[in-house]
């Protein structure tokens, strides 16, 4: 048996990103539990796409507060969401013993496109509308069931690159796996026993038919994550990262620039300062 085969049930994590997955798993579960306790919420609403981020997030939510306190919503779009995502979402839900709430978003996408006809010719604008429709449905559900928090499923790689829709998939009350790189999410998903096809399939936001994350971002996450890790976790200069990873320096520059340009997506909107007690600048308060 080759070494590769012997680790067939484990995602091949780049060595730099090695971490104590069990400890991180327990940390996140503790954070989710206390977040609910501190905010007075009892339930979690989460969008499950069949991808690795939302599958692991759902797993952690269920482990944290129990299946009876989690609502998992699968929000496909006819003609765009591939059948295998639905199969994977159902497989994960079934594995966790949770009933999947399915709501097709196509009629809502259609309604927006009819109202704003220019959307049909602008794939980026339309893609963002789809992500925001999903956000609206998740928050509507949270309001309807009451005392619920919307759990966002963005990982550290997506957050750093700004590969999210503002107020769309990043519109959430808390982001439990936001400090794990995509490769670490895939690794943890493999360790906790989620289906292999969930953590091995190429990540995709499935907002535009057939587009994978790699086709949009230009590099696989295994490489992107190492660039991000050296830049963010160790603040290495871009030239050194390029040397370590044998990449053209322009490539590293490009992704580091994406981090800077997407800063606004990770923060609350800046408030125009007038007085001496400006919110978030002078008036600083905890969330919980």
């Amino acid at each position: 048996m080759t070494k590769e085969e012997s680790h067939a049930d484990e995602y091949p994590l780049p060595p730099e990103l090695t971490f104590d997955w069990k400890e991180a798993h327990d940390d996140i579960i503790n954070e989710i539990r206390w977040h609910l306790r501190n905010t007075g919420a009892e339930k979690i609403v989460i969008g499950l796409s069949g991808g690795v981020d939302s599958s692991l997030s759902l797993y952690l939510a269920v482990r944290s507060v129990g299946v009876e306190n989690v609502v998992a919503m699968f929000l496909p779009e006819a003609g765009v969401t591939p059948d295998y995502d639905e199969e994977d979402a159902r497989a994960v839900a079934s594995l966790l013993g949770i009933e999947l709430v399915v709501k097709e978003i196509s009629p809502l996408v259609e309604a927006f496109s009819n109202e704003i006809s220019e959307l049909r010719g602008n794939s980026l604008a339309l893609a963002n509308v789809k992500a925001r429709i999903r956000m609206i449905l998740l928050y509507a559900e949270a309001n309807l069931i009451g005392r619920a928090q919307v759990l966002g499923t963005s990982d550290k790689s997506e957050l750093l690159l700004g590969y999210t829709t503002k107020y769309g998939d990043s519109g959430a009350d808390f982001l439990p796996i936001g400090d794990l790189y995509k490769s670490q999410v895939r690794y943890m998903a493999s360790k906790v026993g989620l289906p292999r096809r969930v953590w091995m399939k190429p990540p995709s936001p499935q907002l535009i038919k057939g587009k994978s994350a790699q086709s949009e971002l230009g590099l696989p996450y295994e490489v992107l994550d190492r660039i991000l890790y050296y830049r963010v976790d160790h603040r290495y200069p871009e030239e050194k990262i390029a040397r370590i990873l044998s990449l053209p320096v322009e490539t590293v520059n490009h992704y580091c620039m994406m981090i800077i340009k997407s800063d606004h997506k990770r923060k609350a909107p800046p408030i125009g300062k007038v007085g001496g007690a400006t919110i978030n600048m002078d008036w600083r308060m905890p969330i919980e």
């Binding site: 940390d27 539990r33 206390w34 501190n38 308060m285 905890p286 969330i287 919980e288």
Partner: protein, 295 residues
């Protein structure tokens, strides 16, 4: 009064709720009652136990100028020393990340440079990475040592707060002033590395000062940041005598043998062998470093 040969310590690893002083005091009273009922001589609470660690602007609202709650806790503390981390406010309006020791209705006074003081004020205020303590707090000026009563007699204790034990000098100063037990209280946010690093530091502080270290950390999570608990008592050889679980609230008890510590110190001269020349050289090296920053 006789010298105590052993002291029973309760580690009260609580998860304070940010800004909810009422709930936190109720919990502190409850743990104190339980520790007292179990015959503890000391019950130790974490750093900022009344306020929570990440409370930011709430610190202004929860600062203590000897509130009714604090007085009630002191009254409850009959025959038991309560080591409590809290926000203290002075007459000038400065806030401090402080510890007080309460017993028999009073705030126990510590001795510092020949003066009586009512609190220990954290010396090193971390202001880097996720930490912004200098934004909220002023820092203290030294390490007082307390003569504390126990069921057997008296003993000497001191308090250091979190970042203070990441620096070697605070516990050393406490030990030079005769502290037999150092209460190291913390509101330490968890990372994957932090528990191991902290344990190593505390073991070093205990061994290098031939002193017991009673570490008490917050538990729970605030704003999605875990406070990892892991409270423990470490003896002068670096052994863990008792430990509390990670992350969860707990009340655990351990007894330190001060007689054995005294005998150990007779043959292990870590404190006596401290040398004036080395301290002088430390000062000079520090000055050199500071000048190199400024030039």
């Amino acid at each position: 009064m006789a010298t105590a040969e052993s002291v029973k310590i309760a580690l009260a690893q609580i998860a304070p709720k940010m800004g909810d002083v009422k709930t936190n005091f109720e919990k502190i009273m409850d743990y104190t009652k339980r520790a007292s009922a179990a015959g503890a001589d000391v019950v130790v609470f974490p750093e900022l136990a009344t306020a929570g660690y990440l409370s930011q602007g709430i610190f202004f609202d929860v600062a203590e100028k000897l509130s009714a709650s604090l007085k009630a806790l002191a009254d409850l503390a009959q025959g038991i020393n309560v080591v409590l981390g809290l926000v203290e406010e002075d007459e000038m309006g400065n806030l401090y990340n402080s510890a007080m020791i309460l017993r028999d209705g009073e705030v126990v006074k510590g001795m510092w440079q020949g003066r009586k003081v009512s609190s220990y004020r954290k010396l090193y205020l971390p202001t880097y990475g996720m930490f912004e303590e200098s934004r909220w707090f002023a820092s203290g000026s030294g390490v007082p040592v307390y003569e504390l009563s126990s069921s057997e007699g008296t003993f000497k204790g001191a308090v250091v707060i979190c970042e203070d034990y990441w620096q070697p000098l605070t516990v050393r100063i406490a030990a030079l002033r005769g502290a037999q037990v150092v209460f190291a209280i913390a509101g330490s946010p968890k990372t994957l590395q932090k528990p191991k690093m902290t344990h190593s530091l505390l073991v070093a502080r205990a061994i290098e000062n031939t002193s017991y270290v009673a570490f008490v950390n917050q538990a729970g999570s605030q704003d999605m940041v875990n406070f990892w608990g892991g409270s423990e008592i470490i003896d002068f050889e670096g052994n863990t005598l008792v430990s509390a679980p990670l992350r969860e609230e707990a009340l655990v008890f351990g007894t330190v043998d001060l007689y054995m510590e005294r005998k150990y110190r007779e043959v292990n001269p870590m404190l006596r062998e401290e040398r004036e020349e080395v301290i002088r050289d430390y000062e000079i090296a520090f000055e050199e470093m500071r000048r190199s920053y400024q030039s």
